[in-house]
Symmetry: C2
Subunit: 285 residues, 2 copies
């Protein structure tokens, strides 16, 4: 028999990214169950809130089981409408804001969608700069400005360098370059010239050979490039290179882009730049 599939809503009067992120973390604690999720952002009028609530209630009638709602509605009136729905309502704002108000001895603004607005134009710009930098310095394309990088990821083709760099830039505001280790580099005991004088900024990626075969097969099916022998050889030589030059490295086989980026930041002691808003006081634009 098909497992019961529980309906889950992520609701917000902002982007719903917070509700989604928290919701995924909670649901991941029930690995054997299946969930059918729906994200509804920007619920910012009474009309929209009523429509969403009606949709949630409709689900109860059909399935006979209560849906789950993870809601970060901040507006008190709209929140009231959502929280009256026939569902298990998990409302972190409702639970945590009163406790924060008490310890901070002030009231909260009850404004939705604050966390993903621009707190500070200069912070926004440094984040965009990091993204620009990481794009320009993708895949060893440009190597002249490595003295400006926060980190240079190295590894053989398709070990996750590019998405990891983009995530480091987007989420953590870091200038992350990446440089591919190619066949020629493997025959030398020395590091490739462009990265040789930046050993303290290098960070290696590696993965399981079978996983690499699978990923490369998607790109160039049945090519020597995607063969198990070739993948094994390249990964072995790259790992020897990391050991020889004392370059920290990570096996990314089962890791998501988020986890790779967070591990790199942790391992290297880099500073996670606050790309999300904390204070609106310097919101000048």
């Amino acid at each position: 028999m098909q497992a019961e599939i529980r309906r889950v809503y992520f609701l917000s009067n902002g982007t719903a990214i917070t509700a989604e992120t928290l919701g995924h973390s909670l649901l991941a604690q029930f690995p054997k169950l299946h969930f059918k999720t729906k994200t509804i952002p920007f619920i910012d009028t009474l009309e929209k809130a009523n429509a969403v609530s009606a949709e949630i209630n409709q689900g109860v009638d059909e399935a006979g089981e209560l849906p789950i709602v993870i809601s970060t509605m901040a507006d008190p009136e709209l929140k009231k409408v959502i929280n009256r729905s026939k569902a298990l309502i998990l409302d972190p704002f409702g639970d945590f804001l009163p406790r924060l108000e008490k310890i901070l001895n002030t009231v909260s603004s009850n404004l939705g969608g604050q966390s993903h607005r621009i707190a500070s134009p200069s912070l926004y710009e440094s984040r965009i700069d990091a993204i620009d930098f990481s794009l320009i310095h993708d895949d060893g394309c440009k190597t002249r400005n490595y003295n400006e990088t926060d980190i240079i990821l190295i590894g053989v083709s398709r070990t996750g360098k590019t998405p990891s760099c983009l995530f480091l830039a987007l989420q953590f505001g870091l200038k992350a370059a990446n440089y591919p280790i190619t066949e020629e580099d493997m025959e030398s005991e020395q590091l490739p010239v462009p990265i040789r004088s930046f050993t303290n900024r290098l960070y290696g990626l590696t993965t399981d050979p079978n996983r690499l075969v699978h990923i490369r097969q998607e790109r160039r099916p049945n090519s020597p490039y995607a063969s198990l022998d070739q993948c094994r050889y390249e990964l072995r030589v790259a790992e020897e290179m990391y050991y020889r030059h004392k370059i920290p490295f990570l096996n990314t086989t089962t890791m998501s882009v988020e986890e790779i980026a967070a591990r790199i930041v942790e391992d290297t002691g880099l500073h996670r730049v606050e790309t999300a808003s904390l204070s609106q006081t310097d919101q000048a634009i």
Copy 2:
């Protein structure tokens, strides 16, 4: 007098991205206060948990004010250590998991760092494919495969097309291309040839002229490109183009990359692909 700066910790035995995201949302509700935040991910041993707890307590002694802790620790033993710290502990797992267990009639796995692991290799690959696609189709570089795109962002230089596309790919798994509107295009009443037959996938970005001046000045100070007249002209013509061809568009002046991306998905009815893990049952690698 300098405003009191409250210390805030985001703690997790995983990436801490969930704790950080929720924490930023909560703190953003107190726009007049200042916070000093510290993220500590991968607290996965008793030793680390004790060290973090000691650090939190140390802060109390010095400042005389309770720090705030937003913690998504899942391991019960480690959580216990953290929750004994002298701080206001906000623990969404502790509050919400028992309620979820009750309605789902099962126990949670108490495993940390599940939400940012790979749930499904195929999902991981489709996300990486989206990133690859968006990189290749940045800035009108390659236009042949527009029939595969989920969306094509258009706009004049420096309106946020590139970071928005990358975020759409990373966060929502969407294949997002972008095409710049250049001076030549502005003199024509028609859409540029490469995008002309894809009007139903086009989405325009615009911004405030003064904001655009500021951003362009950073890149090419005192150039005609960064002048107020030029910025005003380009934005006006671009907006006329959006109206003429019935292209939906967004003014991104005060928006973060997250908000731009979430608004675009909402406006266009695109499906947010679940890039984060929901079920570990198909975790095969």
